[in-house]
């Protein structure tokens, strides 16, 4: 993206002067509070919106993109688990037998086989999120966009979702994760921050560890970051969660 800006007519621009370069296979986290333009960026990348200024260059003409939204219910097309998985595939011209086989395979992989005929309204939040992931991955996208994928899930479902995600994406898949919780940096290798003025900046571990920085940008600290700030030196490794905690 080069100098990309976006704004709705008559309103203040949401994004301005965004420069971003992502190579295939990179796993990037873009941090920003609600309303900072994360969803807008996701739609721009997907080519659902056209930038009002600047340009976006893509390596191939129309790379296959998949998005997981914050509220998985919003992206369900089929009324049953099976139907929704089939939807993504039905958009390609493949035979019915191949389609059925793929659906079966993914049901198995994501632990949804037993819920195959369930109506989407009968699924729990965690299952819906896994279904959304499965429906997107079944089309083998080159770029995967996640918009706060762990929101609204309790810890157990978050773990299950992350397991499904990490097990099923290929090294060549480019991952772009939008969130406001700093704790998610451990699943990605590049980190950027979207400021309230709609600009994108690379960010270092040091900055993410600074209370002032996080407060300025309205980001949610990892739960144990407060530990380190309040009682410096006694606990370290807090950004990576309890497993990484060391005491003095």
């Amino acid at each position: 993206m080069n100098g990309v800006g976006f704004g709705y007519p008559g309103q203040a621009p949401i994004l301005s002067g965004v420069n971003l370069e992502i190579k295939p296979g990179e796993k990037t986290l873009i941090l920003g509070p609600n309303g900072s333009g994360k969803s807008t960026m996701a739609f721009l990348i997907c080519d659902l919106l056209t930038p009002t200024s600047g340009e976006i260059n893509r390596c191939s003409k129309q790379p296959k993109v998949g998005i997981i939204f914050q509220n998985s219910r919003h992206q369900m097309v089929g009324s049953t688990v099976e139907d929704d998985l089939a939807f993504g595939l039905s958009l390609k011209s493949i035979t019915t037998t191949v389609l059925k086989k793929k659906v079966d395979y993914f049901l198995e992989k994501f632990n949804l086989e037993s819920k195959r005929h369930y109506n989407i309204n009968q699924l729990s939040g965690g299952e819906l999120r896994r279904l959304a992931l499965a429906s997107v991955l079944i089309t083998e996208p080159q770029i995967l966009l996640l918009d706060e994928p762990l929101a609204m899930l309790d810890k157990e479902n978050q773990v299950r979702f992350l397991d499904c995600l990490l097990d099923n994406i290929l090294p060549e898949t480019t991952l772009i994760w939008f969130d406001h919780e700093v704790r998610n940096i451990r699943y990605t290798n590049r980190w950027m921050v979207l400021t309230s003025k709609g600009q994108l900046a690379q960010v270092s571990l040091k900055e993410l560890n600074s209370k002032a920085f996080l407060a300025d940008h309205n980001l949610t600290p990892a739960p144990l970051q407060n530990l380190e700030w309040g009682l410096p030196g006694r606990i370290s490794g807090s950004i990576f969660g309890p497993e990484g905690v060391k005491f003095d």
Partner: protein, 255 residues
């Protein structure tokens, strides 16, 4: 539990037929019904009544289906029985009108039975897929090309969700003091506070889904493969052949 209009699983010959042949057969039967009178009509009604046991559907299902439509059957019968009224003489009126009343109700009776029969022996999405494929040759005329299975699927998908939302909205408004019980005095309050939020919620959901579908690669008017396998076998061809013959006979009769 409401058993009407929902697929009743089974392995009968009729269950296994392609939906297209069933649809054509049903259309043929309906055309024949409308063109029949008297004994022919009665015989046809009998055949249709027997469709259920032939397809291994229980008698109870047939009976309960009819019960659900009792008013739709009784009211036209009574109206047709009473009009035209014959010179203040009840007995004469009934005697002159009852053949016609019976014909009209008989046709309604059979149409209801045959239509519900179709929905019992065929899964809903399969019926929709069948219709869609039958309409394909008419695409140029602007009828097809609408991706009807998708539209039907979305309707089915949203109904429970909207019910759920309307429940939530009602709870929220009750807490804010909507008095329980719908009365004329507080009806505008009721209507505003339930319909407007539901309206907005539906539009929001539709907009979000539209974006999601585009993101998943959907473009309006595109060709899609189907998860339903539809194959015309020899039995289907037989049924379609018979149906076409039946329709041709009716047209010949009228001519």
């Amino acid at each position: 539990m409401n058993l009407i209009g929902i697929y009743y699983p089974g392995q009968s010959f009729w269950h296994r037929l392609d939906p297209r042949s069933k649809i054509i057969a049903v259309m043929a039967l309906m055309i024949t019904l409308l063109a029949s009178e008297g004994i022919g009509l009665a015989l046809l009604c009998l055949i249709i009544v027997l469709l259920y046991p032939i397809s291994k559907l229980p008698w109870r299902l047939e009976w309960e289906t009819l019960l659900k439509f009792k008013w739709l059957l009784l009211i036209p019968f009574i109206i047709n029985l009473m009009a035209p009224f014959n010179q203040n003489n009840w007995y004469l009126t009934i005697v002159t009108n009852y053949p016609r009343a019976l014909s009209v109700s008989g046709r309604l009776f059979a149409i209801i039975l045959v239509a519900t029969w179709l929905s019992y022996v065929t899964k809903p999405m399969v019926i929709v897929e069948g219709f869609s494929r039958l309409l394909k040759p008419f695409e140029g005329l602007g009828i097809g090309g609408l991706d009807i299975p998708l539209m039907m699927g979305l309707v089915v998908r949203f109904i429970p969700e909207l019910f759920y939302e309307s429940e939530n909205i009602l709870v929220a408004q009750k807490i804010r003091g909507i008095k329980p019980g719908f009365k004329i005095s507080n009806s505008s309050s009721w209507i505003k506070s339930t319909i407007i939020p539901l309206f907005f919620a539906s539009i929001r959901k539709a907009a979000a889904l539209a974006i999601a579908m585009e993101a998943r690669g959907y473009r309006p008017g595109m060709q899609r493969s189907s998860i339903e396998e539809l194959k015309l076998r020899s039995t289907d061809h037989l049924i379609i052949g018979m149906a076409i013959l039946l329709i041709a006979w009716q047209i010949f009769k009228i001519w």
